[in-house]
Symmetry: C2
Subunit: 336 residues, 2 copies
Amino acid sequence: MRVGIDAMGGDQAPAPQVQGALAARELLGAEDRIVLVGREEPIRRLLDDADGDWSERIEIRHAPDVIGMDDPPVETLRARPGSSVAVMIEMHRDGELDACISAGNTGAFVAAAQMRLRRLRGVHRPGIAIITPTYRGPVAVCDVGANVNCRPKHLYQYAVMASEYVKAVAGIAEPRVALLSIGEEDAKGNELVRGAHEMLRDDPHIHFVGNVESRDLFGGVCDVLACEGFVGNVVLKLMEGMAESVIEAILSELSASMPDQVTMIRAAAGEILAKYDFNEYGGAPLLGVAGICIIAHGASNERGIMNAVRVAGNFATGGVNERIVELLAAGQGTAP
Amino acid sequence: MRVGIDAMGGDQAPAPQVQGALAARELLGAEDRIVLVGREEPIRRLLDDADGDWSERIEIRHAPDVIGMDDPPVETLRARPGSSVAVMIEMHRDGELDACISAGNTGAFVAAAQMRLRRLRGVHRPGIAIITPTYRGPVAVCDVGANVNCRPKHLYQYAVMASEYVKAVAGIAEPRVALLSIGEEDAKGNELVRGAHEMLRDDPHIHFVGNVESRDLFGGVCDVLACEGFVGNVVLKLMEGMAESVIEAILSELSASMPDQVTMIRAAAGEILAKYDFNEYGGAPLLGVAGICIIAHGASNERGIMNAVRVAGNFATGGVNERIVELLAAGQGTAP
């Protein structure tokens, strides 16, 4: 397969993107290639600095423009058709790439994918599924911000799509699917949740375990959590902020009471943070588009980018998109 | 003032409620009284078990029925007009109580208050404001679940009401007010947030600092965070669940690597958890009703109930309701 990487997208781009591409070569088969999309000159310089011949596995596709992390997504996409992310998505649409990865402006990447790629047959609206690490195992949360408003059928489809995704990338044979709500009883929540609840309950292809509250995310009760994009994004950012905040707090308390043990305490905190490290998971797919689009964290390092390539590979070999189309056709999720 | 306590509401009721009432006597002035509402016989027995004469400061009002923590709120309220929470709210409505507190079924308490108390002049919809402890200081989040759908004017009013509340109970002279969104730029978020943003930006009585992301809750950037009730409830429960989960994780890592220090590590973790302890804050008011209704955590202990009495007192002496009416009349928040 041919995997595109937006070389100009990310807080420190293009260095971690190029290093990640070099590291990811070990994941590739003989026919596989990585295509770095972006400004040729700095990319080539970084590649040439590395040991050995990179050109056997890596190609460069020049794209003159860059979209910054804080640029307004849709406007900038329109104004800069030669941006690395726009060029990469067009290559994907035209069959020159089998998957693409960007750690750049998420809004621009998602907007480009939604505008220029078709949707999978039966899918009403794409959603971003992110695997959130918890101490009792990973949970795929979908949607975390592709769309800020949705209806029950969209929530239902997020659940179906994310369920197929975790089968392929986390090796969970029969993922337990839950709906994020504000009371565990079926009657609680809002109209959106109640509507999606009925659809999921009635679908024999989904292992639906019902509504859960946000605190249950840490209880090991589900493998997939479907929610509306605004709420999902709030959950995601809150977890990131809180993990840092609580660990900072406990380090400060412990360092004060046990000054001789600071090194050991910091090491233990490092173990915890590693379990919450987004680089482990490589990236989050935009599910529902006719393609493979992996959104990596803006601060992804070399390992993060390499793991995003791994996710793209698992996504392709797992046939996630094909399974989503089959399941939506078999279930009730394609009802208008 | 006369403060009612729902003696039958709470995970362990009536014991912590009665103990809390006894402890709260030290907060009372000569004319103040606490009224325990619920089944007279068990309440009286618990009071009589305590040292000294309780009857100088505490009264009992018999109510024959109880609403359980998991009973469907509205249906059960209708079916049991003699429940402690219904009787207490009626006493409040009729002027027999100046404030009321329940650690019982939140839905039933909120529904009873919304059905039987008037709204403050100008208020469209009440909201629950909870003070969430963070390591960089408390933040009042409103609404955390009184209503699951809202429009911009409701969100605006939550911000105004919670701002007045934190002035009175947290002693913050000019609270920094923010809107919870999923991007810090003004144009991001959803229609609800964009609408409320304009109203808050244009109100000279509010110290509006703009939109914040959920991770900023821990960054000390705002004192009040306004959000829709579904999202607010998700945030609240996620924080509870995650504080426990992260601390459990770090204790487990540290205890493995430093087995001799387990006692000291647990003590430090206790310090952290104390900062996140809901009992410190006593309870969350239902803002916007013509009355003082303090929702305490179901697991409140004696100290939690006593602190809820303190919150009710600060709320009354701070003139929160009067200030809310004035501010809404001065601002634009009463527009239909």
